[in-house]
């Protein structure tokens, strides 16, 4: 019998728990050349802002041990262009579409989400409350429980479909923020966004990113992400989407065991753009071998000491 990979989050049904993380798959066009997007549980778009953003001056990325730093600076086409130029392509894709939204003020979040509310193709939104790479908005809201709650409450008033709050690891207590998001009315939580970090060239004495710092992603942050998923799952009722350095089906299983209902694959796409297909194949194989009927049988089942 083929194991059941289907998962459900806030009433939205996904073919499997594998999503592509925001900022790692654009708006889907490029990845669609490498594999059918219908293989994915969901595609999470690059963060959309109210106005288009060119992003920071290069260099914007740097390779580090077991990962990478980035300070792209929320380069994106803006909500209007997204709706007119990117949604038509996404409408043809048989996968769930989660639009990641980033504002520089609370009002901007509300304005963007109000526009997305009229778009049928958008299945959910994910609020980027945690981008470390811009001077305004984003992480400023996401590190403050009261502002997190307020932002989500405001967005929920204008957006009728489920809302995911994407949380930053750059906080004293991610559980505090998760609880605030829950109070604000979030339908699910995704974590973690990138970990603030930097790298310097010993020859030129220059930071390796023009923004002087960036967000660390990739396998290097996986243990941090796992611990945070575990903490949030143990202290919150909302479904959790795990993110952080996932590169194989075994990584996925770790996140599911720690309480994630689904996961997002990010940086690994840069190295193996068709990795979601391999992960789904291998995850199915694992479930079969362990005689598990459903991927949901793994969620939160870590056998703690």
């Amino acid at each position: 019998m083929t194991p059941d990979l289907k998962v459900s989050i806030a009433g939205v049904k996904f073919a499997n728990p594998i999503m592509t993380a925001s900022g790692c798959c654009g708006y889907g066009e490029e990845l669609a050349q490498l594999f059918p997007l219908s293989k994915l549980g969901a595609l999470v778009t690059k963060s959309i802002t109210l106005k288009p953003r060119p992003g920071h001056r290069p260099p914007r990325t740097a390779e580090t041990t077991g990962g990478m730093l980035n300070a792209i600076g929320l380069a994106n086409v803006g909500v209007d262009c997204f709706l007119s130029d990117k949604v038509p392509f996404l409408s043809k894709q048989k996968t769930k579409v989660i639009v990641n939204v980033a504002g520089s003020t609370l009002q901007e979040y509300v304005d963007i989400c109000a526009r997305l509310n009229d778009c049928e193709r958008v299945d959910m939104i994910e609020l980027n409350l945690s981008c470390p790479n811009v001077d305004e908005g984003g992480m400023v809201l996401g590190v403050d429980p009261a502002l997190t709650e307020k932002t989500i409450t405001a967005v929920k008033k204008v957006f009728s479909k489920p809302v995911i709050a994407k949380l930053s690891p750059n906080v004293t207590s991610i559980v505090e923020i998760a609880k605030a998001a829950e109070r604000g009315g979030a339908d699910a939580l995704s974590l973690i966004n990138s970990v603030v970090g930097t790298a310097v060239d010993p020859e030129t004495w220059r930071p390796r990113l023009t923004y002087n710092k960036g967000g660390l992603t990739g396998p290097a942050i996986k243990p941090i992400a796992l611990a945070m998923v575990d903490a949030v799952y143990s202290n919150c009722r909302l479904p959790v989407i795990g993110i952080g350095g996932i590169s194989s089906y075994r990584d996925v299983i770790e996140f599911l065991l720690c309480g994630a209902t689904a996961v997002q694959v990010g940086t690994a796409l840069f190295i193996e753009p068709d990795i979601p297909v391999k992960i789904i194949r291998d995850l199915t194989g694992y479930l079969k071998k362990r005689k598990l009927k459903s991927v949901c049988d793994l969620v939160g089942k870590v056998r703690k000491y």
């Binding site: 050349q33 992003g55 001056r57 290069p58 990325t61 390779e63 796409l269 190295i271 193996e272 753009p273």
Partner: protein, 264 residues
């Protein structure tokens, strides 16, 4: 458009060209015949302690054997690992990627402006042009480097029958000076010819070549280099500033750009 794909392949040959330059041949690679001059492959080094893939312009293909050649210079961790690859080693290629060169028109004299390790895509371009029936005498191959050891594949270039004009900064081969100075002299000496420029090399050389194109109204294209995390256009890490404003992705919108298109 050919869809890129990840494909495992093997090292067929690793030839040391001296002074840190290596020529690597990979095969069998099912997409070899799809690779066009100016395009690149993104190479994953299996089992090596490098995180990203590394992007290399295709330097030549053998469509009969399904092989592709790249040329590299050891400049960092990735290229150091690659220099140590041996026959039979497994690598994974993602490609072919990027926008290729537009081939010149029949009545144009082609000016190749290569600098150091910028030569590979231009070699492939010239091979392709000649295979397509272009008269080698219409191709002027300028090739600059710090020293004679930086001018690789000399006998191959000469064998193609092109006009080969090496320029070195230390005078150890060909003319002494910067390659673009001699390109300009050539342009001034032949004002009546219709030219098209193709350049690839270090940033200073690219800028000087771009400026020459603009100054004399000569069309052409430049192949750019940038560290590329993804190579397929999703990470937005490898961008270059456009003269018209905004940024373009070197991997997806390039690596080949028209003269005057980007800020160098």
């Amino acid at each position: 458009m050919i869809r890129p794909a990840c494909e495992d392949t093997f090292v067929i040959k690793n030839r040391n060209l001296g002074n840190g330059y290596y020529s690597l041949t990979f095969g069998p690679y099912s997409r070899a015949s799809e690779c066009k001059p100016g395009q690149f492959v993104h190479i994953r080094l299996l089992g090596a302690d490098v995180f990203f893939r590394r992007a290399f312009s295709v330097a030549n293909v053998s469509t009969n054997n399904n092989e592709i050649e790249i040329i590299l210079k050891v400049v960092g961790r990735g290229t150091k690992v690659m220099a140590g690859l041996r026959k039979g080693d497994l690598v994974n290629l993602l490609g072919p990627l990027g926008v290729p060169f537009k081939l010149p028109k029949k009545n144009e004299t082609t000016l190749i402006v290569a600098g150091g390790i910028g030569v590979p895509p231009l070699l492939f371009l010239v091979y392709k042009m000649i295979r397509r029936g272009c008269d080698p005498k219409q191709i002027i191959f300028f090739y600059g480097g710090c020293s004679a050891v930086d001018i690789v594949k000399r006998s191959r270039i000469k064998k193609m029958g092109v006009t080969f004009l090496p320029v070195t900064e230390d005078g150890s081969l060909g003319e002494t000076g910067l390659v673009t100075e001699f390109v300009e002299m050539y342009l001034l000496a032949r004002r009546t010819d219709r030219f098209r420029i193709y350049g690839c090399g270090p940033p200073g050389m690219l800028k000087a070549t771009n400026d020459l194109g603009l100054k004399y109204g000569i069309p052409g294209q430049l192949s750019l280099e940038a560290p590329m995390p993804c190579g397929i256009g999703v990470c937005l890490g490898c961008v270059v500033e456009l003269t018209g404003g905004g940024y373009a992705r070197v991997c997806r919108d390039g690596p080949v750009f028209d003269i005057g298109e980007v800020v160098l």
